[in-house]
C-alpha cells in the first residue's frame, strides 16, 4: 500500500535502533532486601514504521509489547539505543509541546479504566477536542456527535455515563476519544481482546475502515494471529524482549521463518484441524535468561551454537521480501543458507 516502489526507503515515521529498556526490580524472593537487578524488557529492538503502515505486534505475555508501545509514545525513555519520530528523538519531540500527543493517539487496553466514571460520554469526548483546540466551543456538540457516529454509536450515548455502556460500547468511546485530536497515528494495546466475537468483528471492521479512510498509521498489539492478519499488513513477533521475526503478515504467517513464529502459528486454533502438539516448556523468566538464543530451551531446531550467542535480526529473501528473522537456523524455503545481511546494510 504505502510501501515504496523503489528500493530506497524514505524516512520512516518511527524508527527504533537497538533499543534497550531495563527495569530495575527487586530480586525475587528477597522481600526485605532492597537489592535490585536489571530486567531487560526490551533488548536490541530494531523496527521501522512507515507512514500509513499497519503493524501488528504479537508475542506472549511479558515479551515487551507494552513497553515497546510506551517507547513509541515517548512515555518511556530507552535505557540504550535510539527511538526516533521523523528522524528526531521521540522524548525530545514530545517535550516540545502538544503536537506529538495530538498526532499520535493511544487506545488503552483497559478502556473502562481510562475513562473518568463521573464524566458523561459527551464530556469525555469533548475533553481532547478542547485540549487540542480542534474546533470552536460552539461546534463541540456537533463534533462529539460526528465522532460518535464515526465509531457507530447513537448520539444519545453522549448523555450517558461509562457505567451505562457495555464493554464493546466503552471500547468504541475510547476509540472516538483517540480520534478526536485528528491523529495520524493510532496506537492500540489489545483493543479488541476479551470482547464477544460479534462485537470484536464490528470493531475490527471499524478500525479497518478508519485506517483506510483517514490513512492512519496503525500500531496494534494483539495476541491473536487472526486479528493481526485481518487488520495489519505487517507483523513483528516478539519473544522475551526481542523481535524475533518481522515482515508482511501474510508472508510471515504462511511460511514463518523463526521456530517460535511457527510455534505461534501452529498453536492458533483452526476449524476441525487436529489439535497440534504443543511447544514444550515454559517461557523462561526475563531475570534468568538462557545463554545464547532466548528460545533455545524450547526450540526443536536448536544446535549447540545456539547456546553460544544471541542471533541478530537479519534480512533474508532479498529486499523485495521485506522479511527478517533472528535465528541461526531459520525455516526458509530456499535450500541455500539465508542471505545473512545486516538489516541496516
Amino acid at each position: 500500500m504505502t510501501r515504496p516502489a523503489e528500493g530506497h526507503d524514505p524516512q520512516p515515521l518511527f524508527e527504533l535502533i537497538e533499543v534497550e529498556k531495563v527495569y530495575m526490580v527487586r530480586r525475587p524472593g528477597s522481600v526485605f532486601s532492597t537489592a535490585k537487578v536489571g530486567l531487560p524488557a526490551l533488548d536490541g529492538v530494531r523496527l521501522k514504521i512507515r507512514k500509513g503502515a499497519s503493524v501488528a505486534i504479537v508475542g506472549e505475555s511479558g515479551s515487551g509489547k507494552s513497553t515497546l508501545l510506551r517507547v513509541l509514545l515517548g512515555l518511556t525513555r530507552p535505557t540504550e539505543g535510539r527511538a526516533l519520530y521523523q528522524g528526531r528523538p521521540i522524548d525530545e519531540v514530545r517535550a516540545e509541546g502538544r503536537e506529538f500527543a495530538r498526532q499520535v493517539a493511544m487506545v488503552y487496553q483497559d478502556a473502562r479504566g481510562s475513562l473518568n466514571p463521573r464524566m458523561t460520554i459527551g464530556a469525555l469526548i469533548a475533553e481532547p477536542l478542547r485540549h487540542f483546540a480542534i474546533c470552536p466551543e460552539t461546534d463541540l456538540p456537533a463534533r462529539v456527535k460526528a465522532l460518535l457516529a464515526r465509531v457507530g454509536l447513537p448520539a444519545e450515548v453522549a448523555d450517558r455515563y461509562p457505567s451505562a455502556l457495555s464493554g464493546g460500547q466503552v471500547r468504541r468511546v475510547a476509540i472516538a476519544r483517540a480520534l478526536a485530536s485528528e491523529p495520524t497515528v493510532l496506537v492500540a494495546d489489545e483493543a479488541v481482546s476479551g470482547l464477544d466475537v460479534s462485537t470484536q468483528a464490528q470493531l475490527l471492521n471499524l478500525l479497518r475502515r478508519l485506517q483506510r479512510e483517514m490513512a492512519l498509521t496503525l500500531v496494534f498489539i494483539t495476541h491473536d494471529l487472526g486479528v493481526a492478519s485481518y487488520l495489519c499488513e505487517d507483523i513483528a513477533i516478539m519473544y522475551l524482549g526481542r523481535i524475533v521475526e518481522t515482515g508482511p503478515t501474510n508472508a510471515v504467517l504462511n511460511a514463518p521463518a523463526h521456530p517460535y513464529a511457527r510455534a505461534l502459528r501452529r498453536a492458533a486454533p483452526e476449524f476441525f484441524a487436529p489439535i497440534t502438539e504443543p511447544l514444550p516448556g515454559e517461557i523462561p523468566s526475563p531475570l534468568d535468561l538462557p545463554p545464547g538464543c532466548r528460545f533455545s530451551g524450547r526450540c526443536d531446531r536448536v544446535q549447540p551454537d545456539c547456546h553460544l550467542s544471541d542471533p541478530a535480526l537479519l534480512r533474508f529473501g532479498g529486499p523485495a521480501a521485506n522479511r527478517a528473522a533472528a535465528c541461526f537456523y531459520p525455516l526458509t524455503e530456499s535450500p541455500t543458507a539465508p542471505q545473512k545481511r545486516d538489516i541496516h546494510a
Binding site: 506472549e60 460479534s198 498453536a267 476441525f272 489439535i275
Partner: protein, 317 residues
C-alpha cells in the same frame, strides 16, 4: 451416546426476577468432551455453578440433572454434595491465580485435597501429589511442592489447578475458560493436557470456551447458548460444519482465522436480561426472524442430527 453420564433436563435459574437460564437441556456420554459456547453473559458459568451445587441460597434452580446413578444433582442436600464435589465432579476455574490460595504452598494445597477426599496418610499423600504434578508436566515436581502460587508462572499455576482437579479421579471435569488468561502457546499446552488426562482416565469434560475453532478441535459435542437459552446442540462436527441455527451461523461467521479477508458481523449486541422478548431470545438480532419468533418460544427439537430451537432454521449448507 451409549453410556450417558450426565443428562440435564429443563435447567432453569432465576436470580430475582431475571431468568438467567431458561429451560436448558443437554446430555453427555462417559468419556466425552463437551464445549459450552456463547457470548459473555450467556450463562455458561451459571450452568457450571448449578451442576456443581454452588448456587444454593443465591438463585432459584429448577429442572433435573441426572448424573451417573444419582437421579438429580439439582435437588441434592448440601451434605451429599460433600461426597461428590471435588471427588466425582471437579472444576478448574478461569483464573488459576485467584483460585489457588496464596498463603499455602502448592504441595500443601494438593496434599490437603488428597488427605481429605481420599483419606490418605501424610507420606502417601505427598508421594501421590508429586506424581500428579509430574503427570501435568511440571518438571522438578518435588521441589515445586514447596513453591507458593506467586512463584509460578500463569501456565504452571494452571497446571497445578489441573492437578488438583484430577487428584481424585473425577468422572466429570468442568473447565471454565481454562486458558483465556494464558498465552497462545501455553493455552495449547493446557487444553492438550486436560484432553490427554481426561481421556487417559476415561473421564468426561465440559469446557467453557469462547473460541469455536478450538471447540471444533477439542470437543465431541457442543452446546450453543444465547442469553440463557440453548440455541443448538449436538456433535460438534455436525453443528459446526453445517450450523442450522442463525445464531450459530453468526458466531461462526465472526471467527477470524488466519487469512480471513472479510467479516460481516450483524449489528447490535447481546440483550440485557431485563428486556428479553417473550419468544426466542435471539429474535431482536436475528436476520431470519418471523413475527411469531418474538412471541412464541421455539422448543428444542431433533433436526438433522442435532437439537435445534428455531422457528426458521437455515437451509443445509
Amino acid at each position: 451416546m451409549t453410556d450417558v453420564l450426565l443428562s440435564v433436563e429443563g435447567l432453569t435459574v432465576h436470580r430475582g426476577a431475571r431468568r438467567i437460564l431458561d429451560d436448558v437441556s443437554f446430555s453427555l456420554g462417559r468419556g466425552e468432551t463437551l464445549a459450552l459456547v456463547g457470548e459473555s453473559g450467556a450463562g455458561k458459568s451459571t450452568i457450571a455453578a448449578a451442576l456443581m451445587g454452588l448456587l444454593a441460597g443465591q438463585a432459584r434452580v429448577e429442572g433435573t440433572a441426572a448424573f451417573d446413578e444419582a437421579p438429580d444433582l439439582l435437588s441434592l442436600p448440601e451434605k451429599a454434595w460433600n461426597r461428590l464435589r471435588g471427588r466425582r465432579l471437579a472444576m478448574i476455574f478461569q483464573d488459576a491465580g485467584a483460585a489457588l490460595n496464596p498463603c499455602y504452598t502448592v504441595g500443601s494445597q494438593l496434599t490437603t485435597v488428597l488427605r481429605r477426599q481420599l483419606s490418605l496418610g501424610r507420606a502417601e499423600a505427598r508421594a501421590r501429589a508429586i506424581a500428579l504434578l509430574e503427570s501435568v508436566g511440571l518438571n522438578d515436581a518435588a521441589a515445586r511442592m514447596s513453591a507458593y502460587p506467586h512463584q509460578l508462572s500463569g501456565g504452571m499455576q494452571q497446571r497445578v489447578m489441573v492437578a488438583i482437579a484430577l487428584a481424585c479421579d473425577p468422572d466429570l471435569l468442568f473447565a471454565d475458560e481454562p486458558t483465556s488468561a494464558l498465552d497462545v502457546t501455553i493455552q495449547a499446552q493446557i487444553v492438550r493436557l486436560i484432553l490427554d488426562q481426561t481421556k487417559q482416565k476415561g473421564a468426561s469434560c465440559i469446557f467453557v470456551l469462547h473460541d469455536l475453532a478450538l471447540a471444533s478441535q477439542s470437543c465431541d459435542r457442543i452446546v450453543v447458548l444465547y442469553a440463557g437459552q440453548v440455541m443448538e446442540a449436538g456433535p460438534s462436527e455436525t453443528v459446526l460444519r453445517d450450523p442450522r441455527h442463525p445464531y450459530t451461523r453468526l458466531l461462526k461467521s465472526c471467527v477470524i482465522e488466519i487469512g480471513t479477508s472479510e467479516l460481516d458481523p450483524p449489528p447490535g449486541s447481546v440483550p440485557g436480561y431485563d428486556d428479553l422478548p417473550a419468544g426466542c431470545r435471539f429474535a431482536s438480532r436475528c436476520p431470519r426472524a418471523l413475527p411469531r419468533c418474538r412471541t412464541d418460544k421455539p422448543r428444542l427439537e431433533e433436526v438433522a442430527g442435532r437439537s435445534l430451537a428455531c422457528w426458521n432454521p437455515e437451509e443445509a449448507a
